[in-house]
């Protein structure tokens, strides 16, 4: 009998996770205030024993705000030149990412990072690939809208134009009036609505979820079950960084009592023997300027990971096979060119990154398990689809 089966049907996720997550499951009552509209939404949608995201009380998730946010998410009027919307880099069929190694902004400028999947973004303890303090979706939305280095949606300095565009549209007049009855159309209202909608991008219907939360023993193939045991086992150690309900340790739920800020250097680069990453993106160090933060990034969720190629913060792994190569080797070897170096020798890489004596069968089983994290229903969910179509 697998380790999982003995735990079903109650809170199986707790077993797989870190010590802090165990605390979150069984520890003291949460100190944060509840958010009635968010609680109601998640109660309506999620399975009863599926952990709920934490939503600040100041960010209600009313149906009206969700509807407004969905219209905004899919609206190219949110870009300066009218060519891109949030969806341009976060497409439903690709689990809300874009299939590119590096994102391309509305003016054609290449980003230095890969678009993150928005799957279960409501659970993220921090947002973007590497920020220690950016944790609220409304605040984060300012970055793609108004950021300039690089340009994404390209709205910097054009907030008056944006509010004019929205205010002139009869659809928005009604949507804003319903979502924010006592407020004028504002940047704050726009980003609050975007946050409300993004929290509805939820993955909880994968084959893995059917096993873990509904007790459906037949949900996973034999190979995927073996892969799951490898994933959550000490040989592969995947779960240390990709644990919790959201397959990322940087997760915050309604039950969390601690704010965990977790970033990891996985040994992708080692330009100088001291662990240096390319100057184009040095991870958390780019913000904190701490040498020890070189190459540290937040572990992204692995839900729908089969759909989100290419992989890593810079899209430098084309396939899940390449990703497994990296982790099984214990760091990536780049033999030539400007980024040459052996990540396995990086002094900054996480202690969980180490060479693994993997068999072909184990590799195949792990891949099968990762594919069992695909939530087909999310990809076709009309509640998440473009409302303007």
């Amino acid at each position: 009998m697998s380790r999982l089966a003995s735990l079903l049907p109650t809170k199986p996720v707790c077993l797989f996770a870190t010590a802090a997550w165990l605390l979150a499951c069984d520890g003291p009552a949460p100190t944060e205030p509840v958010n009635p509209t968010a609680d109601a939404y998640f109660d309506r949608v999620l399975p009863p024993n599926f952990p709920r995201p934490y939503v600040p009380e100041s960010e209600p998730m009313t149906d009206e705000r969700i509807a407004l946010g969905k219209h905004l998410f899919y609206d190219t009027r949110l870009s300066g030149n009218g060519t891109q919307s949030c969806e341009s880099c976060h497409q439903q069929q690709l689990a809300f990412t874009d299939g590119l190694a590096l994102a391309i902004g509305s003016t054609g400028e290449s980003h230095f990072r890969s678009s993150m999947a928005l799957t279960n973004v409501a659970y993220n303890a921090t947002l973007t690939w590497a920020s220690p303090f950016l944790s609220e979706l409304p605040e984060q939305a300012l970055l793609p809208m108004f950021g300039e280095a690089p340009v994404e949606l390209g709205m910097a300095g054009q907030e008056a134009e944006l509010l004019q565009r929205l205010g002139d549209d009869a659809t928005y007049q009604a949507l804003f009036a319903a979502a924010f009855p006592d407020e004028a159309i504002s940047v704050r209202a726009v980003v609050l609505a975007l946050g409300a909608f993004q929290r509805t991008i939820l993955s909880y219907r994968s084959p893995y979820d059917r096993l873990a939360y509904l007790g459906d023993e037949a949900a996973l193939s034999e190979g995927a079950r073996r892969g799951m045991d490898l994933f959550f086992g000490e040989k592969y150690e995947c779960f240390h960084c990709h644990g919790t309900v959201n397959f990322s340790d940087a997760t915050k739920t309604a039950n969390s009592t601690f704010d965990e800020v977790l970033f990891h250097n996985t040994g992708l680069y080692n330009l100088d023997g001291l662990g240096a990453y390319p100057a184009s993106d040095q991870g958390l160090m780019r913000v904190t300027a701490k040498p020890g933060d070189m190459g540290r990034f937040r572990a992204p969720t692995l839900r729908n990971v089969a759909l989100t190629a290419p992989y890593f913060h810079d899209g430098s792994a084309a396939t899940l096979d390449d990703v497994l190569d990296h982790y099984i080797r214990g760091g990536r070897l780049i033999e030539g060119g400007p980024n040459a170096g052996d990540g396995a020798l990086s002094p900054l890489r996480s202690g969980f990154i180490k060479p693994i004596d993997a068999t072909p069968q184990e590799r195949a089983d792990l891949l099968e398990f990762l594919h069992a994290l695909t939530d087909e229903a999310m990809l076709d969910d009309p509640a998440l689809a473009n409302p303007w179509d």
């Binding site: 300012l142 108004f146 709205m155 704010d259 100057a279 913000v287 904190t288």
Partner: protein, 308 residues
């Protein structure tokens, strides 16, 4: 003031308003110095309303969006146009002959001044300043204790407490999206962007963006930004400054010096406060901001008489 007895000065420093009275009284009424209180016949002198004037210049010319400025770079052959020219100031103080200082109690003036932070705005959306605003702002108003002051000190930037708030909730003047700097969790303290004339007509125009702001910021999801290793708040001091006659001028020629504005030696074009950006040490030094171990002299701001 120099001849004031120590006891008198100490009494006068007890409160701002008393100092205001004392400074007004001391000029012509030396025989009152042995009293702790001004005599009834001294002219009343409460806090003074002050309008501190700023200007932006390129050498002797006003810096405007619709004009081409020439003579930049190591060979003085680079021409440029402004694309933006805005900056925040706070902690304005007037310095007296003894080196003491009195703060400017900043007025609240929507949308330019709020909670001690003022925006100065020298772009009017004309020319290449397309992402600016049509409004201009070249003064900071407030009140100070009456007195005789010989110098001025202010800080370029946004105070830490206001710099790291949620920008989507901030009141003017901290609600301009072109001055947001969210990936650093703060604001651009100064945004002075120029577009450089290409060597060959028709080639892409290089840009030289100067974005000053705090870097090396750390924090937590719950607490937000808790500290920045490089706050990059430039304390600007002008030792000879008469608020009645003078204005504070930022001279772009002094800010960038002789660096080659047409070549990006690394990092983003221009200087976005990156510690390893080769275009940053020069403008930082000219603002008196150390980058590394140097302790540079501030030259970018000067006091100049207001033109008649």
């Amino acid at each position: 003031m120099t001849q004031l007895p120590r006891t008198w000065r100490h009494a006068a420093l007890a409160t701002t308003s008393v100092l205001a009275l004392s400074v007004a009284a001391c000029g012509d009424n030396a025989h009152h110095h042995d009293h702790d209180e001004p005599t009834p016949d001294a002219p009343p002198a409460g806090p003074q309303a002050v309008s501190l004037r700023f200007a932006a210049a390129v050498g002797d010319e006003p810096a405007t969006c619709d004009q081409v400025f020439t003579g930049f770079g190591p060979n003085a052959d680079i021409s440029l146009q402004f694309q933006d020219l805005r900056f925040y100031v706070h902690d304005i103080e007037f310095i007296d002959a003894q080196g003491g200082s009195e703060p400017l109690a900043m007025d609240t003036v929507s949308p330019w001044q709020n909670e001690g932070v003022a925006l100065l705005d020298f772009e009017d959306q004309s020319g290449l300043c397309a992402n600016g605003t049509t409004d201009l702002r070249s003064i900071v108003t407030g009140t100070r204790a009456a007195g005789t002051y010989t110098g001025l000190r202010f800080t370029l930037g946004v105070p830490f407490e206001q710099n790291h708030q949620d920008a989507s909730l901030a009141a003017a003047p901290l609600n301009l999206t072109s001055l947001f700097w969210n990936w650093q969790g703060g604001y651009k303290f100064a945004r002075i962007d120029t577009s450089v004339e290409p060597v060959n007509p028709g080639d892409p125009r290089p840009v030289f963006n100067f974005h000053l702001g705090s870097t090396g910021c750390d924090g937590s999801p719950a607490g937000g930004v808790t500290a920045c290793t490089a706050d990059n708040l430039a304390v600007i001091e002008l030792t000879n400054f008469d608020v009645e006659a003078d204005q504070v001028v930022i001279d772009y020629r002094e800010l960038v010096g002789a660096i080659d504005l047409a070549v990006n030696g690394g990092g983003p074009p221009g200087c976005m406060s990156g510690t390893t950006d080769p275009e940053c040490p020069a403008p930082f030094a000219n603002l008196g901001l150390a980058m590394g171990d140097n302790s540079p002299a501030m030259t970018a701001f000067v006091a100049a008489p207001v033109s008649p």
